[in-house]
């Protein structure tokens, strides 16, 4: 049997987002610009993953910095660090920490989808030969990264992995700790691939103290229409997802 995460839930539950319910309305997020970078990381990161999921092997993280020019809470930017995993047979990115550029967006993302988001200064800037991302928390940089030398590729070559978040959620009338699946759709308008570089990543600020990015894998920047859909699945974080998954509603196709 593949390895499982080894996160001790007791170390995480005190600061988890609290979902108000599992009936949030979807958000449409047109013309989003998404910078994604992937890096291999040490196996010690298995300790950051809930026991319900398998770590990706080799262990790797994805850094996502997105600009959403339209949303129900107005324009905002969002930066996320995700530790990649398998929920049963399905690739998933476990969100370790997220930063949104407005307090309204951070609050909504926490309450509606259980994202561990805080407000911070998030920027995504394009230069001729690079796309640069920065996150300042209380004025202190916790991320400086760039995709270098972007080259056009097909959006069809890009595979975004769905996310899971660890949150307190009301299920069957009782609030408990759950993994919440967040599974957006993407319609690509433009895609580029380049070399990922990170000059600063404060692991502590991203929920991964001491995290060392090792082997750069790839980086893409895409323009696409996307969304944050209604919640479809939650999973018991302590039980393999094959046994601990609860369906909240039918698939999006059935809506």
């Amino acid at each position: 049997m593949p390895l499982f995460g080894t996160l001790e839930l007791s170390t995480a539950v005190t600061s988890l987002p609290v979902l108000r319910d599992l009936d949030t309305e979807p958000w449409s997020l047109p013309k989003a610009e998404i910078l994604q970078m992937a890096f291999e990381v040490p196996r010690a990161t298995h300790a950051l993953l809930p026991k319900a999921v398998h770590p990706a092997i080799p262990s790797y993280v994805t850094l996502l910095v997105s600009r959403y020019p339209e949303s129900p809470v107005g324009p905002f930017l969002l930066a996320q660090l995700r530790l990649m995993a398998r929920a049963g047979a399905h690739p998933r990115g476990f969100i370790l920490r997220a930063y949104a550029s407005t307090p309204e967006a951070a609050a909504a993302l926490r309450e509606r989808w259980g994202m561990p988001a805080e407000a911070a200064t998030v920027s995504l800037k394009r230069r001729h030969d690079r796309v640069m991302a920065q996150v300042l928390r209380d004025g202190v940089p916790v991320l400086d990264a760039a995709l270098v030398d972007p080259q056009p590729i097909s959006g069809g070559d890009v595979q975004y992995i769905h996310s899971v978040t660890l949150a307190q959620a009301p299920v069957d009338g009782k609030t408990g700790t759950w993994l919440v699946q967040v599974d957006p759709r993407y319609t690509f308008h433009k895609a580029e691939r380049g070399r990922p570089t990170v000059s600063r990543l404060d692991g502590e600020a991203w929920g991964a103290p001491g995290l060392a990015l090792q082997n750069p894998i790839s980086s893409t920047v895409c323009t696409c229409d996307t969304d944050l859909p209604r919640i479809r699945f939650v999973m018991d974080p302590e039980v393999p997802v094959i046994r601990g998954t609860k369906k909240i509603r039918e698939s999006r196709e059935a809506e």
Binding site: P2, Y60, I217
Partner: protein
């Protein structure tokens, strides 16, 4: 229709000093029996770093051992990763020649390029170039096997004139194959006159369409070797037992285990968007078969899981869609006890194989 075995060498955790040795020894015992029972070929993969899924990084070693304990069964080196960071072309030519000699001319050579980030990243390979290096390698290999001396200047490797020795035992050279997982690779095989070594399971209609296109296309091929191998092979699971329900339940556990392990691998496309890997390939398909809407299909008629009558029906259907060879995975994570695997092989040979032997010899089917 010919039948063979296909080995990933799947080793479950916990890994003890003896566990890998036990899996290899079990596989060798199965191959020895398969040879005695009349199976035609045994294939072994080249995989690296694929924990539990495949502990088979040196298939030529395993296949040499197979050749030493068998008399007739052919040994399939499938597939050799034709990417310079994995294998130098000279070494490929040399070690395949030695294996062909030691096996007495029983070698089949599968070629491919790897499709996981586990492996490509591990060898620090640029995924963008693997198809190009594969194309270069497969054009060099037959010449390295057959020409008295050889020199080469290419994009991915070069060598001054040397005599590459030894030469292969088979004349003009062993049959060559291409691993076919992504749709369209069968056309790459056809264009080069190479056999189609299918590594996907099930889906008759899709396979029939792809095989028909392969057959049409290979008639106009420009062969990279000195002859055209127009054979079509596919992989399948095998667990044969008189009790159909028991066979299907046991076999289903094996198939699910294999697919679940496969779904843990990181496909090249998941990590590194590239036109070189335009389709999702094998892994998402297996993931879907493990848990998705296709899960029930695994217990369907296409698999070699069931009593002999059921398996004959499945194999006849594969034969009808144009498959020449079916290579079977016999176990995954050793979940089926070795004695049961051997019994399954014996029953298959006794009850299933005659139905196909008769058909081939024109004496009428026994089924």
């Amino acid at each position: 229709m010919k039948f063979g075995l296909f080995y990933e060498i799947s080793v479950p955790r916990p890994w003890t000093r003896e566990s890998e040795r036990t899996v290899y020894n079990n596989a060798l015992e199965q191959v020895k029996l398969a040879d005695e029972l009349g199976f035609d070929q045994v294939w072994a993969v080249e995989h690296h770093f694929l924990e539990e899924y495949s502990h088979c990084p040196a298939p030529e070693m395993f296949l040499t051992a197979c050749a030493m304990v068998t008399k007739k069964i052919r040994v399939g080196h499938g597939i050799i990763v034709c990417v310079p960071e994995f294998n130098h072309p000279i070494k490929i030519a040399e070690r395949t020649a030695v294996l062909d000699i030691l096996s007495g001319g029983r070698l089949e050579v599968g070629t491919g390029r790897s499709a996981t980030w586990n492996e490509l990243g591990g060898f620090r390979v640029d995924p963008d170039i693997t198809k190009k290096s594969w194309d270069e390698f497969v054009r060099c290999l037959p010449k390295m096997w057959t020409q008295e001396t050889y020199s080469y200047q290419g994009e991915f490797w070069s060598m001054p004139e040397r005599c590459i020795i030894p030469k292969v035992y088979q004349r003009p050279h062993p049959p060559m194959w291409v691993a076919v997982t992504s749709p369209g690779t069968e056309l790459d095989a056809a264009d080069r006159g190479l056999g189609s070594l299918g590594l996907t399971f099930g889906q008759f209609a899709e396979q029939e369409r792809r095989i028909a296109e392969y057959r049409r296309r290979i008639q106009l091929c420009d062969p990279v070797g000195e002859f055209v191998n127009d054979s079509v092979s596919t992989v399948n699971f095998l667990y044969c037992h008189e009790d159909d329900d028991k066979a299907r339940a046991t076999g289903r556990r094996m198939a699910d285990t294999f697919n679940y392990l496969a779904s843990q691998l990181i496909s090249a496309r998941e990590a590194y968007p590239s036109r070189s890997y335009p389709s999702l390939g094998l892994l998402p398909q297996l993931r879907r078969q493990a848990t998705g809407p296709d899960a029930n299909e695994q217990a369907g008629e296409g698999l070699g899981l069931g009593n002999p009558e059921r398996i004959i029906r499945a194999m006849k259907k594969w034969e009808a869609v144009g498959v020449d060879r079916v290579n079977f995975l016999l176990n995954a994570m050793e979940i089926i006890p070795q004695a049961d695997v051997l019994a399954s092989l014996r029953l298959f040979a006794k009850e299933v194989m005659p139905a196909f032997r008769d058909a081939k010899s024109g004496n009428g089917g026994a089924a």
